[in-house]
Symmetry: C2
Subunit: 422 residues, 2 copies
């Protein structure tokens, strides 16, 4: 082994519309520095690929296939929900990582994920010190939940926010047309179990150009049925219709999820539905209004067809910056998005110590929620607007479907005799 080391890249946790744009940034930048970074191996299904020595040789992918990652949603190498235990709890896992890294001459570890992944990445970054294996670990931020600290925003969030803002505007136009004789309330359930970032994006559907009556139910604000119904009633009376954006994580005043309404099927089995149908049924019961409801679920985070251009740019830039940080000899850091100004929107890539990132959740500031608890403030709008700005359309096939790349994902020949159970 010479000066040249190989790199390991993996995707972790829930995927997004732009996590592959980060992968694209990593691989394209690494390819420009072959004198330092030999190969980029991707973990098949995240860190599990490292543990099981199931590595993908991204060098087998053509330039155009890698470029196409920029416009392809989801995790091209597979992701996983798997959190490494602490070194004390599971030394075998870390030893296995070292064995695999050593066998494949891996000196750079790029981990693309959220808070849990940042913790894993931090642990790996400490292997030089704790286990004497020289490795540089760089975390690349990714999460639709937008809950990583320090960075202004998380790649992945902007595109979900844009999808929810656009969809809320469109569905609101629909219900407005129908309200005279039919549906008067439309309820859209969005992701965000702990923080209302995505729900807040629904509020962006309404602006000075296009005012829309929208009521938002945040996980940060305990559900007050009476006050909620009064507001919906008022808006329907005034505008003829109302849209409701409800976070999956909304809780009742007793602290339980509103979605968990003790539904039972014909056989008495408990059924956990979404929260949108629960709110819809309440609207019908309390106000007697005709409703429609939707649950966007995976559609919102995979909607590359309406990705935000700034989000794609952030995702690519943080991937590219991670490689540059590695080349600059850094370890245990994460590239961040630093906002320089709102209008015009200017940003740059910054750097955060992983210790300050791992296992910390950034909540939405209370100043982003309007005083009545059902809307967003001007400050929130100022924050969100640049993140949903610009369209970055994928290419399409002649048959009308988006051209999303599937890589060859060629497996690297195993070098270790032992397998490893995860």
């Amino acid at each position: 082994m010479g000066k040249t080391k190989n790199a390991f890249y993996a995707q972790s946790g829930g995927v997004t519309a732009v996590i592959n744009a980060s992968a694209c940034g990593v691989i394209e930048t690494a390819r420009q520095h072959r004198e330092h970074i030999g190969k980029v191996f991707a973990g098949r299904n995240g860190i599990i690929g490292a543990l099981s020595e199931d590595l993908i040789d991204t060098g087998k992918e053509s330039k155009s296939a890698i470029a196409a990652l920029r416009t392809t949603p989801s995790g091209a190498f597979g992701s996983c929900r798997y959190k490494l235990k602490s070194l004390e709890e599971n030394r075998a896992e870390y030893q296995r990582l070292i064995d695999v890294f050593k066998a494949h001459n891996i000196g750079y570890f790029f981990y693309n994920g959220g808070g849990d992944s940042a913790d894993t990445c931090l642990k790996v970054s400490q292997l030089s010190r704790t286990a004497g294996y020289p490795i540089q670990a760089i975390h690349i931020p990714k999460t639709v939940d937008n809950d990583l600290p320090i960075t202004d925003n998380c790649p992945g969030f902007g595109s979900v926010a844009k999808y929810i803002a656009v969809s809320t505007r469109e569905a609101s136009f629909d219900v407005a047309s129908m309200a005279k004789t039919s549906t008067k309330v439309f309820i859209l359930e969005v992701m965000g179990r702990h923080a209302g970032w995505i729900a807040a994006a629904g509020g962006m559907a309404s602006d000075e150009n296009t005012p829309i009556p929208i009521v938002i139910l945040f996980p940060e604000v305990a559900f007050d049925r009476k006050r909620f119904m009064a507001l919906v009633d008022q808006k329907v009376k005034r505008f003829g219709y109302c849209s409701v954006v409800v976070s999956e994580g909304v809780r009742s005043s007793d602290g339980g999820f509103l979605a968990d309404q003790g539904l039972r099927d014909a056989f008495g089995h408990a059924q956990l539905g979404g929260v949108a149908p629960v709110v819809a049924a309440m609207v019908k019961e309390d106000l007697g209004l005709k409703y429609h409801w939707a649950v966007a679920d995976y559609l919102q985070r995979s909607a590359r067809h309406i990705a935000s251009a700034s989000d794609v740019a952030h995702a690519y830039a943080t991937g590219a910056a991670a490689v540059e940080m590695a080349l600059a000899g850094k370890n245990a850091v994460m590239p961040t998005i630093v906002r320089l100004s709102d209008k015009p929107y200017r940003w740059k890539v910054g750097e955060a110590s992983l210790k300050r990132v791992a296992n910390k959740e950034k909540m939405m500031p209370r100043s982003f929620i309007s005083s009545d608890g059902f809307g967003i403030t001007a400050r929130c709008r100022r924050y969100l607007e640049p993140l949903i700005r610009g369209q970055d359309y994928p290419p399409y096939h002649r048959n009308g479907l988006p051209k999303y790349v599937r890589l060859k994902n060629a497996t690297v020949r195993k070098k270790l005799a032992e397998s490893f159970e995860v």
Copy 2:
């Protein structure tokens, strides 16, 4: 009153992403023939606007506002669900229509809707004969259900189909990334209470370039839990994951809606949820697989941001053709889409007699459903492909939201003394 007559245009029933493109076709074409068509009045909230003499003067809208209708979803003048009774049952309604038409010198009646609306339009077309009031009534096809006869397809359907095909592909990429340690089955509920046209569009997500394991549940095929589970299980075993597209109208073998599972809340009240959570719970129960589900609801029919270019073209063309038919002296007809060839896709506008359209539902041919009942055939693909082809993006504001027009919708001064209760 001279030779010039005014026109009445109204939108009816559930709105679509492109019904305003038809309105645009009507108004722009009428404006080119001011010597014959004086003003175009739109009914506020469909036919209710005619009955209550609540007319909108589209002449007050600028050229650019009317042009913007082509890229704005929903019904710009408001729609309604209201079916005129027969002349025998409710003569007063027809007399009122004649009074309003006469007062506003209306000689052309353009009605933009589905099967029920075609019936209303037919009744209006007969007023010349039945009530001696000279009027030409032309129906403009619109329905996401794609169930009007004679026309090759219905404007509105192609865009929903594209949305469902694109979304199914995107969510399938997502679940494929997650399947190793998390979600293995993704279930998307789509519209279509009687016919599986929209569900079939989900099958388009998979093609030669991008094969995806998809199981479709059609309203035309009674739900067979055992066979469905066997297929899902097989696909998950082979591909690691599976996507399910389920029509809201799927029925059990006893004929009841599968969505109606006798759910009860904590107080014993019946809860009608969607069918997606019902199928999801069954997948969990029978196969023990982790699932996610989504209900697209209004999002699918209002998604102008991903409208199909051919659908927009069809919608505009049928609107424009309706005016040309009126100018050619026709009555009781509907412009249709005539397919001339699949590859290359070529089409023209044809003409159908309203008598052959009204109250007839076009079901999906059995030859479009694969022999196992869970997929689409090559013939179905050949039919659907041209309808979802091409992207026709709306313009966007600088803040990242689509620029959808809201008209002034200036009310025409009432001329009748009496009001009319609908």
